[in-house]
Amino acid sequence: MQDRIIAPTLIAIDHIDFTAPKTHRLSNSVNLYHMNSVPNETSRFDLYFDAGKCKGAIGIAGFVNGLLFSGTEVKSSIEISNEINALGGFLETGISVENAVVSIYCLRENLVSIFKVVIDAIQNASFDEKEVKEFLSDRKQNMMVSMEKVGYLAQREFQQKLFASNESYSKTVNLSDFESVSQTALKEFHAQHYLKGLLKIAVVGNLPDKDIGFIKEKTRSLLTEKSHCFDGNLENKNGSSHINKEGALQCALRIGRILFNKKHEDYLDFLILNTILGDYFGSRLMTNIREEKGYTYGVGTMIAELHQTGYFLIATEVGKKVKDDTINEIKYELNRLQNEKVKQDELQLVKNYMLGQLLKSADGPYSMTDLFLSAEMHGKDLEFYNEALVSIQKITAERIQELALKYLNWDDMTIVSAG
């Protein structure tokens, strides 16, 4: 019988292979990135547009994004869907504060044919009144469902407080905004932010050069010409606020602050602090709030990045009765990181865990492309992840404490609860 108490010997991760996609310059400011080494038949393309929620009047960016495939003068929305589906394409559209993105997942043999359909639909979207009406009514219904969820209510309020210094960023759609949408406004936004708003193209798939050439050709007229400006000086409004929700069994908490992105010198080291606090299953917050007290099904922290800045967020949903206790425990954990150095065994565990996760995030062409895009957004290349590897290997408990003292002060936080 072997000794089961002693763990097997571990082998450290000291090297990760990062493979960059090939860069094709489409204009001074727009690139196409192509990841060719895909060992199977799958493929994907993403079109990034300068059409995020911070652009235009309230709600409009989301409406136009949702209506991109609602038909042209010659094709109905059903015909467009049929064409994409007949080629086995899976369409996704998404929107964030600063960007909008259209993605297709398909077999590589069908990518070019689907691309034609997608570009035609986007270029010639006609915003037919009947389609607009149906879309707005569906969206309104969805929003009414969301308004019943404490997580949504808290997130919405958090966004308003987090981006309080800039109305373009802090605005959130209201039910009344669905009533007064004009076709002209939709068309204007579309013309400005889609027809002249393509920021970036990413293609994953083992595709011949002629396919890439075709994509370049087809998108030439859509490329953005202006250099877009995003806010780099956002400031959150600190302090607490609560949204009351009758009958809720749980309370959603969102706590955070404006911080920074990959461009900042403290970013990589802060990622490690973030992991210790709340970004893995054994984190301080999970251990305290879930595994010791059973207050929640889950709690997590993250750093979200914007083009010119970023923010830090703690999110959880807890039993209604333990809301105040939970906030106190979160505060306690932030203070503990400021007042005590992280012990060596915990730090070693987090280092090893993060190296394993970095290895995983570079595994396979899709993950690799996403990793690349995340660096590219901030003017970095894959060398950034070698720096990340070194920063994980080298970080000390003193440095973690220094960063906690600098960035995790309770008084700087926006604290939102809903329940």
């Binding site: 199977n40 869907s81 394993g356």
Partner: protein, 415 residues
Amino acid sequence: MIKYERFQLPNGLRVLFHKDETTPMAVVNTLYDVGARDENENKTGFAHLFEHLMFGGSINIPEYDAPLQLAGGENNAFTSNDITNYYDVLPAKNIETALWLESDRMLALASTPQSLEVQRSVVIEEFKQRYLNQPYGDVWLELRPLAYQTHPYKWATIGKSIDHIEEATMQDVKAFFKKHYTPSNAILCIAGNLDLNNVRALVEKWYGSIPAGNKYQRPIQIEAHQTEYREKLIERNVPSSAFYYAFKMMGRNHPDYFVADSLSDALGRDKSSRLYVSLKKNKQLVSEINAYITGSIDTGLLIISGKLNEQVSFQEFDTALWEEINKIKTVELESKELDRIMIKIRTSREFQEQGLLNRAMNLSMYELLGDANRINDENRIYSKITTTDILKCANEILQKTNCSVLKVKADKNAR
């Protein structure tokens, strides 16, 4: 083609090994042949509560997560009505750590009272977060007992009510472990850039000495053939009225299972599907509509669900829905409709098979169903499906007397 090797230990543990040279990561997937269907009707939610307890430390190792994280890995698990599945994803060079951890919790749990108390509250919060504190969150708690009268599929994996979770005792925990967590009740799948001989040696080293225990023989559970239409109306304070039509269908081992899957795609997989085009786009009766299958091992469900537009009554919708159902039962699909369904199935399968973890989970599931190699037959089976098969299947499944309907009526004064 997904290649794999198979071997079995004397204690009954079935092992699959799938080699993939393209990834630095490895997967250890452990499927236990136990789900909510194996629970006592008066102690439901237990298989899932137990899944949480599997992370509370084992007989020789006080913590499950920390050693795995130290090896650069992460893990999770899920429970369904049929199975409980645990997986570890970690750098391939540290694979032994996962085998050490997984084998120790197959050997015996620490079963501390603290672990039970905490996981009990965590699961209660999960119950609230996912089933009670969400609009429409409780529909499966209502729909299952309507569709099933005797089969244990009549309760959801989270359990019938919070009370059952509150009442679970340490004695229950220990008995459940002894009954279901034996090597012969498990399938282990290891995937990654590893060597078969090394894998075999490591598995024998860590799992070989686990006592065989008694193989649990599940009593045959058959839901009697449904012969009447069932309907239940509940009132909830939700923004719009919702409907769930549940038709009984064949289980996963039935030859027509994939035909029924294709039928559900024809009805409501995407924006080209019958119900979406007819009931949403043309007639404007619903704001959303979908059709899908539950994928159960025993008698499963084909579900049509969605939300009504304002001003539309359940009755108006019901009439229009049955008109569409009658069409698909009377006239065969057009061949281009079938082609569209098949290319989408093929595409999504290609994407699923990309992921190492998915491959390991699917191999384990097929091994449970009888033979891991069936994973490689799926494309062939789908490609042989004809419009005649789908018509026949539609007539078998889409009968009123085979249907249970849950209507959730929006009412501002309801709870």
